[in-house]
Amino acid sequence: MRNAMKVAKWEIKRNLKNKSFLIGLFLTPAIFLAFMFIGSFFGGSDGEEEISTRVLVRDELGVFEVIEETVAVHKLNWELEATESSKEEILDELKESENTAFILLEQESFENGVIPVQTSEEINPFFMNQVQVLEVPLKTLQMEKLGLTEEQLSAFSKQIIFEGTSIEEPATTVEEESDILGEDPLERVIPGAFAGIILLSIVFSGMYIFQSASQEKKDKVAEIVLSSLTPGELMQGKIIGYFILGMIQAVVFLGFGIPIALWKLDIPILDYLIGPEVLLFVLIAILGYLLFAALFVGVGATMADMSSAGNFQGMVMMLPFLPFVFIGPVIGDPGGLIAQIGTYIPFTAPGVLLLRLTFLEEWPWIEIIVSLVILGISIWLCMKLAGKIFKTGILMYGKNATPKEIWKWIRS
C-alpha cells in the first residue's frame, strides 16, 4: 500500500506539472459551463423582451376588479383596460393593432357560459390558455347569483380528487406528492447534479488512467518501475492517483460552477448540497469510478498505443457512456422496468442510479442495496481481472493484445 501511494503521488505530481493536463483541467469545465449558459442567455433575453398583451374589457357585469386581481395573482403579462366603446369600434381597433384582445362581458353571454374573446391577428400563442384563469372568478360570480351559501360555494369550487391506494404500498395521495414536487424539486436535483459532476470528472480521469497505462507501455518504463514494486501496487497506485486527480477536476469544476450558478440561477445551492443524500450520491459516484478505473487500467495495459485501439478496446472505452442510453426512459419513468434494468447492469448502474434517485420521491431501498451489491461484486471482479491482464499486458511491448490472448491471461 505504501508503494501504491508513492505511485499515486507520482501520477498526481506528474500530471499537475503537465501543461496539457492543466489546460484540460480548466478548459473542460469552462467549455461545459459555457455551453450550459449559452442556452440560458438566449432564453433569458427572450423573456425580457416579451411584449405584454393589451386586454380590453367591456364590463357589463361589474367584475373588472375581480379580474384585475386574478390577473395579478397569476402574474399574467396583461395590460388590462376597461373600455366603454361599442363592439364595432373595438373590432376596428383590433384590426389595426397587435397583441391586443377584447373580452366582452355581457349579461347574456355570462348566462350562456360562453364568453366571446376577440384577438388581433398577432397575439401571444398562450393567450387563449391564459384567458381560462378567468373561469374561476366568473364561475363564483355565477354561483353567487344563484344564491348559494358560502358553504355550498366552497364545496362546489373544491375539485374532486381521486385517491389511489394499492394494497402493498402505504397510501399516498396524488395531491401530497405533487405538493412535495411543487415545494422543492431542487432538494434532490442539486445533489444529483453535484454527484453527476463528480462521476463525470472521475470518469474522465478514468480515461486518463487508460492513457497512462498504455503510455507506460509505450515509454517502456514499466519494467524499471516493476523492479521496485509489484504490478498490483503499480495498478492500485494509478487508480488512487487518478481518483485524486478526478477529485481535483471535480473541485475545479464546482469551483467554477457553484459561483456561476449562484449568480445566474439565484438558488441557495449550498443549502441543498448539505444533506444526507449527497453522501449516498457521492458513494455511488466513487463506486462508478472504481469500476471504470479497473476496466480502463486493464484495457490500457493491453494496448501498445492510444491510436492502435482495436474494436475490442474501443468497445470497452465506450462503456461509461452506456448510461446515456437510459437517460430518456429513466427520466420518463424513474420507477419503470427499463430504469430497474439499468440499475442492475453494473456498467450503467452508477449513472442510472444517480438519475433515478434524483427523480424518484420514494427511494426504492431494496433496489438501491441490490444495485450497490452488484456494483461491489463487479468492482471486485474487474479489479481481479484487471490485475491479471495488467501484469502480463504491461510488459508486452509494441503490440496489441487480442481478446484471445487476454482471455488466456485471465485464465492463467
Partner: protein, 308 residues
C-alpha cells in the same frame, strides 16, 4: 566469495515451448558476471524471472539465501527501457529512488554527482523529451545505480552508446564491482564482455553452453589459431602437425590448432617454401566462440569437449 544470487535448475515454458531448460548459476559479491547468448536464447527471460516480473515453472532463485526479492537492494536496467516523457530528469530520478526507499536528500546529491560525471551537468531540470537517446540511456543507468544497490542487473547496457559513453559506463561498472556490488551483465558486445567480466554464462536455446571464469573459458575453449596471408596449398597446410582444421578463403588461410600446442615450437614446423605475407597467431576470441555456437557450427565446442 559470498554469492548474492543463486539460480538453481530454472525452467520456464511459454505455451509448449521450453525457453529455459535447467539453468543454474551464481553471482558473487564484487564480481561482474556476464550472461551471454544470441537473440532469443533466454537471457531476458532469465533476468525477468530473477526480478520477479515472471515466475519460473521450476527451480529456485535465492538472494543471500532468501527467497524474497530484496527489491530495494537491486538495481535493474532492463533491455526494454524508457523514461516518462514530459517530466524533468531530476523528478524521474528521485521518483525511482523513492520507489527504492532511498533517502531523497542523498539521492539528489548523488544524482547531481552522476549527472556531472556523465556529462549531463545542468540537465537536471531539462525535460526527458529534450534528451538524446544516449543521454536518456545515461539517465536510465543513473536511475539504476542511484540507490547504491548491492546487486545490479544490466541488460544490454551498452546498446546504442557511442565509444566514449561506453568507456564511461565500463569504468563505472568496474568501480561498482570493486566496491562490492554483485553485477549481472548481459551483452552482445563480446569484446566488452571479454574485457570486463570475471565470469560468464553462455546460454543458447535456453540451455547452458559454457559457464566458468573468463580465464578458464579462454583456456578451455579458446585454442590458438594461426592466420596466414599468402597463396598456399590446402593439403600442405593440412599436413602440418597439431592442425585440427583449415579454413581457406582467397589468399587467407586460418589454421585451427590443437589445444595443447606449443606455439614457439610449432612455428618451426612451417615449411620454408610457404608464401607468408602476413602471419598472426592468437587465441580464438569469445566473439568467435559466440558466433560458432549461435550459428550451430559447434566446431570449437566439440573439440573443446573432446579435449576437456
Amino acid at each position: 566469495m559470498e554469492a548474492f544470487l543463486k539460480v538453481e535448475h530454472l525452467k520456464k515454458s511459454f505455451k509448449h515451448v521450453e525457453v529455459l531448460k535447467d539453468i543454474s548459476f551464481e553471482v558473487f559479491k564484487g564480481e561482474i558476471m556476464a550472461i551471454l547468448g544470441p537473440n532469443g536464447a533466454g537471457k531476458s527471460t532469465t533476468i525477468r524471472n530473477i526480478m520477479g516480473i515472471m515466475y519460473p515453472d521450476e527451480g529456485s532463485i535465492t538472494f543471500q539465501g532468501h527467497q524474497e526479492i530484496p527489491r530495494n537492494m537491486i538495481g535493474y536496467l532492463p533491455e526494454e527501457r524508457g523514461l516518462y516523457k514530459n517530466v524533468k530528469v531530476m523528478d524521474i530520478l528521485l521518483y525511482f529512488a523513492e520507489l527504492k526507499d532511498y533517502p531523497l536528500k542523498k539521492a539528489k546529491e548523488r544524482a547531481l554527482t552522476y549527472l556531472k560525471k556523465f556529462g549531463l551537468e545542468g540537465k537536471e531540470n531539462a525535460s526527458v523529451e529534450e534528451l538524446s537517446k544516449g543521454m536518456g540511456q545515461k539517465v536510465q543507468f543513473i536511475a539504476s545505480i542511484l540507490h547504491e544497490p548491492k546487486f545490479l542487473i544490466l541488460d544490454e547496457p551498452f546498446s546504442g552508446l557511442d565509444p566514449v559513453s561506453q568507456e564511461l559506463f565500463k569504468e563505472e561498472i568496474r568501480s561498482l564491482a570493486k566496491n562490492g556490488t554483485a553485477i549481472l551483465l548481459s551483452s552482445h558486445q563480446m569484446n566488452l564482455v571479454e574485457e570486463m567480466c570475471d565470469r560468464l554464462f553462455l546460454i543458447h536455446r535456453g540451455q547452458k553452453v559454457i559457464y566458468g571464469s573468463m580465464d578458464n573459458v579462454k583456456k578451455e575453449y579458446a585454442n590458438f589459431k594461426c592466420t596466414i596471408r599468402g597463396k598456399n596449398q590446402l593439403d600442405i597446410l593440412q599436413g602440418l602437425p597439431e592442425v585440427q582444421r583449415v579454413e581457406q578463403q582467397d589468399d587467407t588461410s586460418v589454421l585451427y590448432l590443437t589445444k595443447d600446442v606449443q606455439v614457439a615450437s610449432w612455428l618451426k614446423h612451417l615449411p620454408e617454401e610457404m608464401e607468408i605475407n602476413e602471419l598472426s597467431i592468437d587465441r580464438i576470441s569469445l566473439h568467435e566462440i559466440f558466433i560458432d555456437i549461435a550459428t550451430d557450427k559447434n566446431m570449437f565446442r566439440e573439440e573443446a569437449t573432446i579435449n576437456a
